[in-house]
Amino acid sequence: MIRKSPALVALIYGFAAIWLIMAAFPFVFTLLGSFKTELDFFGSDWRNVLSGKYTIEREGGYFTGIGYRLAFVQEGFWKAGINTLVVTICTVGISLTFGTLGGYALARSTYHYAFWILMIALVFRAMPHVTLVAGYKAPLFEYGIWGQTWVSIVVLVAINQPFTIWMMRSFFMNIPNELDESALIDGCNRLQGFWYVIMPVMWPGVITTGLFSFLLAYNDFTVTSALLSEQSATMVPTINSYLGTAQQDGIQMAAVAAVVSATAPLFVLIMVFQRQLVSGLTAGAVKG
């Protein structure tokens, strides 16, 4: 390789540094700010978040848990956390089961209809979620099942499906067809072959797809905020509800603490599964 000129090296590192600060600093700043008082975080000078001027003055320390106390003790944000846990686990479990079966069938079928199902799924994938919610909400009210957790789970599973079957299909395409055929020759039926021969080599794909199903359910705002009542609300709509009532004293800091709390699991997720996330983001791209 030809060595890069010093100017080019400086340009590369300079640009990388600017980008990384842009990408990560806002989160670090908010994390630090969540341990401050409202006067520091929403005050007239952002430098107070770093110096902790009012926090030290009023609370007697550089850090204060006042925002977290408001969010978790007064506002009961932990309930939203539990709701999120239930919704995401159920959504991921069901969409992976459905998506694995469907993705496998689509990867192994050579008929025209498999192609058409994929195309229809692509159109479904492009539809704004809120247009679907417009379809559900009135009937759900009619039947009196609006606001229940399982309704949101079912809807999120359905919204997840187009994406899941596309991704699963692209992972199954990587597994050679000969593996299926040898299983069939050895006397397995399709389901046995799928379960005992294909699935054991498919787990990386399942984990990657599961991560994205998780993110879709966890990050969802449209479905959960429109279809869940106050008691069953997950974290994201709960945070949104804090914003509307921002005038009450101190509740803004509860929103900041809630935001940081909701970000923490994602932080851990990226740290643990960075490789799978990267492979998942590119799975669709490389094979088209």
Binding site: W46, T110, M119, F124, T131, Q161, V236
Partner: protein
């Protein structure tokens, strides 16, 4: 795979999509033709005090009836949506084309939302692809042990919940906030340059958020593409004496082109349904997207305006269909060639 096996494997997934994506399309279509009955007005005699005899007859709502009526395409042509009457009136005023667009069209909620959505989609796309490419090239060339942490940090804006991401930025745009100070330092000739007050600034800030949010996705896709560039071709180009810029143009770029198309497709689909930043940036007064307009009718209005939410949804689905048609035609052509 035999038809029967395919059917059973596909059944759960397609049933979920049929019931909860396909049927709702017809649900919105049906709902878009119905509207709650208008309130019944009537003359009511109200007497302030019998002694003074201050009785007056007022025309007011006497009853809000329960139920809906069939209104045909009225919701589509009404003021909340296509506003054909209002447009015709504005056009008849002969204000000239520019003021027709500014005062006539952009005062109507649906066109305003459509304008913002198109603005957001079209302005963010080139920046996302350009910035994603530059970041990928830069991070591909840094010292190897730094790459892992750099990718970790780069993924944050994309993976973290859109509502949270926009809030984190929004909180920095208030007076005295970090971004506020930064922009006021750049725009030094203006005092107190607010990032929240005016319509153009709100649109810009949300577009900046959009670029910040999606660039990591473009970056990761391009970065993965860079790992699979043929070393042989690069070396051959180097031996032939091609300078770095030419190697980029003639070897790397052609290799990345399919990935650019992929990022473009995904980003167009996602940008068209932009919703969370409108709420994260508390921007409903200055910016509405089509999704936030539907959301507003559906969730924020009390009672919910199911009819106009549904009619807007139908138009949105049609627009998404138009947006996707070239992609579908192209994929169909590729598929036909592939199976031949």
């Amino acid at each position: 795979m035999p038809h029967r096996t395919f059917f059973f494997f596909m059944l759960p997934s397609s049933l979920a999509m049929l019931l909860f994506i396909f049927v709702p399309i017809f649900s919105v279509l049906y709902q878009s033709f119905w509207q709650p009955l208008p309130p019944i007005m009537g003359a009511v005699e109200t007497c302030l005090s019998a002694l003074l005899g201050g009785c007056s007859i007022e025309y007011q709502v006497v009853e809000i009836p329960d139920g809906v009526e069939f209104v045909g395409f009225e919701l589509y042509t009404g003021r909340a949506l296509l506003a054909t009457e209002e447009l015709r009136a504005a056009w008849a005023d002969r204000l000239g084309f520019f003021s027709f667009i500014r005062d006539g069209v952009f005062n109507l909620p649906f066109y305003k939302a459509l304008a913002f959505t198109l603005f957001y989609t079209l302005i963010t796309t080139p920046f996302v692809i350009g910035l994603g490419l530059i970041v990928a090239l830069a991070l591909d060339n840094i010292w190897r042990p730094l790459k892992g942490p750099a990718i970790f940090a780069s993924l944050l804006p994309f993976i973290i919940t859109p509502l949270i991401g926009s809030l984190v930025l929004f909180w920095m745009t208030g007076q005295g906030g970090l971004l506020y100070d930064f922009f006021n330092w750049i725009v030094f000739w203006r005092d107190d340059f607010s990032l929240r007050a005016s319509v153009p600034m709100t649109w810009t800030v949300i577009a900046v958020y959009g670029v910040w949010h999606v660039t990591p996705f473009a970056f990761v896709v391009f970065y993965a593409g860079l790992q699979t560039v043929s070393r042989d071709q690069l070396e051959a180009a180097m031996i032939d004496g091609a300078p770095r810029i030419d190697r980029f143009r003639y070897v790397i770029m052609p290799h990345l082109m399919p990935l650019v198309t992929f990022v473009l497709l995904i980003h167009l689909m996602d940008a068209f349904r932009v919703l969370e930043p409108i709420f994260g940036f508390n921007a409903q007064a200055n910016a509405q997207s089509i999704s936030s307009l539907i959301y507003d009718h559906l969730v924020l209005q009390n009672p919910s305006l199911y009819g106009s939410a549904a009619a807007t949804s139908v138009l949105t689905i049609i627009m998404v269909g138009i947006l996707l048609t070239p992609v579908l035609i192209r994929t169909w052509r590729d598929f036909r060639i592939a199976i031949r």
